[in-house]
C-alpha cells in the first residue's frame, strides 16, 4: 500500500509544490527585487524571514492552545487534538528559534549588539524556554492520555505569554521597534514593495506551516496507529498464554 509509505495525499502534494514556489519567489523578491533601506541597507532583507517566523510561531502556539482546549472540553477526548497540539508546538518552537537567530543577526548589524534584555527580547526568550519545557512534558512518558492531559494544561497556561510578547513593545519602552503594519492606529510604515515582500513572506511561511503541520500530525497518527495495531496483536498473544 502506498499510503502507508508516505504521509502525503494529492492535496498536500499540491500544497507542498505551491509552498515551494511561494518560497522561491520570496527568495527572489526578498534578495533581488526589493530595494535596500536608506538606513539599514541590505540588512532590511532579514525582516522578510524574521517577521514571518514569529508570526508562524504565534499561530502555532495559538493553535496548540485551541486544540488543547478542545481536547479537554470534548467528552470523547479524541487524541487527534492532542497530536495537532503537539505538532503545532514543535513547529512553533522551531520558528521562534529562527526568529531569535535572525533577529539577533539583524540586531548586531543595526543596533550594534546581538542581544539586549529589553521587554520584547526577554519575553520572547521566555516564550521559547516555556515551549521547550512544554515539549519536555510531552516526552515524560506514560500513556497517550497522560501525555495529552498534562500537556494540554500547560499549553493553556503558556499561550498567555503571546499577548505579553506581542504587546511588550507598546506597553514598555524597548530597544526593539514597534510593529510597522500590525499597529491599528498608525499608517503603514513600509514602502510599497517592501510591504508586498513582507506580506508575501507571511503568506508563504503560513503555507509552509500548514504543510509541515499536516505531515507531522499524520506521522504522529501513524506512530500511534502502529502502537494501537500492536495492541490488538499483543492482546491476541497475551490470550494465547491462557491457552485460548
Amino acid at each position: 500500500m502506498t499510503t502507508t509509505q508516505t504521509t502525503a495525499t494529492p492535496a498536500t502534494q499540491k500544497l507542498g509544490i505551491a509552498t515551494t514556489l511561494a518560497l522561491i519567489f520570496l527568495l527572489f523578491s526578498g534578495l533581488i527585487f526589493s530595494a535596500e533601506d536608506v538606513v539599514q541597507g541590505s540588512t532590511v532583507r532579514i525582516m522578510y524571514v524574521h517577521v514571518p517566523s514569529i508570526w508562524v510561531a504565534y499561530l502555532a502556539f495559538a493553535l496548540t492552545a485551541i486544540c488543547s482546549a478542545v481536547y479537554l472540553s470534548n467528552r470523547s477526548r479524541s487524541l487527534i487534538w492532542d497530536r495537532f497540539a503537539g505538532a503545532a508546538a514543535e513547529i512553533g518552537v522551531l520558528f521562534v528559534a529562527v526568529s531569535l537567530v535572525t533577529g539577533s543577526l539583524w540586531g548586531r548589524l543595526t543596533w550594534g549588539t546581538f542581544w539586549v534584555w529589553d521587554a520584547r527580547l526577554t519575553s520572547t526568550a521566555f516564550l521559547f524556554i516555556t515551549y521547550v519545557g512544554y515539549l519536555a512534558v510531552r516526552r515524560l512518558g506514560g500513556t497517550f492520555r497522560q501525555r495529552a492531559r498534562r500537556s494540554a494544561v500547560m499549553a493553556l497556561l503558556a499561550v498567555l505569554e503571546i499577548p505579553l510578547v506581542h504587546f511588550s513593545v507598546n506597553l514598555w519602552r524597548t530597544l526593539h521597534q514597534k510593529a510597522s503594519i500590525a499597529d491599528p492606529n498608525a499608517k503603514v510604515k513600509l514602502d510599497g514593495f517592501m510591504l508586498f515582500t513582507l506580506f508575501w513572506g507571511l503568506i508563504s511561511f503560513t503555507m509552509l506551516f500548514v504543510w509541515l503541520l499536516i505531515h507531522r500530525q499524520r506521522l504522529m497518527a501513524l506512530e500511534d496507529a502502529v502502537q494501537d495495531q500492536g495492541l490488538d496483536l499483543a492482546i491476541q498473544q497475551r490470550r494465547t498464554e491462557a491457552g485460548r
Binding site: S34, A35, E36, D37, V38, V39, Q40, G41, T43, V44, M47, R108, L109, T110, W111, G112, T113, V116, D118, A119, L160, L164, L171, W172, R173, T174, L175, Q177, K178, A179, S180, D183, K189, L190, D191, G192, F193, M194
Partner: protein, 162 residues
C-alpha cells in the same frame, strides 16, 4: 476492632462539582487580571528599557548616580570623533544631553537617528560605555529616496520618534 466499612461522605451533586471546578478558574482569571494591572500600571518604569533625555534626573529610576540608559536622537552636526572617543549631543523633547563615549559605536550609528546610551551622568556630561542604535519602525526604500536626496537630508532629523 470494629471493621465495618466506614461510611462515605455524601457524594456531591453535579451542580456542586461544577461549582468547585469553577472556583479555581475564577481565581486564575482574577489573578491574571491583577497581574495585568501590576505589570502595566506599576512596573512600567522598572521594565522600560530606557529613560528619555528629558527625563534624566526627573523620572523614577532615572535619577541619582546610578547607571541608566538614555534614549535620544543624535543631533545633526554634533558628532565628533577623535582618538577613539566619540562625542555628540543627544536630544529628546527639546532637552539635550552631551554624551561622551569611548570607542566606535557599532550598528548603523549616524546623525539624526535615535540611540540608547548606557552610562552615568558625570558633571552634566553623560559618560557612556555602550551605545545601541534604536531603529524606528519606518522602512524607506533607498532607490526611491535617491530621487529626492536633497529633501532627505533635511527631513530625516524631523522624522517623528516613537
Amino acid at each position: 476492632m470494629d471493621l465495618t466499612p466506614r461510611p462515605i461522605a455524601d457524594a456531591e451533586s453535579r451542580a456542586q462539582r461544577q461549582r468547585r471546578r469553577w472556583v479555581p478558574i475564577v481565581i486564575v482569571a482574577l489573578a491574571l487580571a491583577a497581574g495585568g494591572v501590576v505589570v502595566t500600571q506599576f512596573l512600567t518604569s522598572a521594565i522600560d528599557y530606557y529613560c528619555n533625555v528629558d527625563e534624566v534626573g526627573v523620572r523614577d529610576g532615572c535619577v541619582g548616580q546610578r547607571r541608566i540608559r538614555v534614549q535620544g536622537i543624535v543631533l545633526e552636526n554634533s558628532l565628533q570623533q577623535a582618538d577613539g572617543v566619540t562625542e555628540f549631543m543627544m536630544s529628546f523633547n527639546n532637552k539635550t544631553l552631551q554624551v561622551r563615549y569611548q570607542g566606535d559605536p557599532g550598528g548603523v550609528f549616524q546623525e539624526c537617528i535615535p540611540v540608547v546610551a548606557h552610562g552615568r551622568v558625570v558633571d552634566g556630561i553623560f559618560d557612556s560605555d555602550r551605545i545601541e542604535v534604536k531603529h524606528t519602525n519606518q522602512y524607506v526604500e533607498k532607490n526611491k529616496s535617491r530621487f529626492d536626496e536633497a529633501t532627505k537630508e533635511t527631513a530625516a532629523c524631523s522624522q517623528s520618534p516613537e
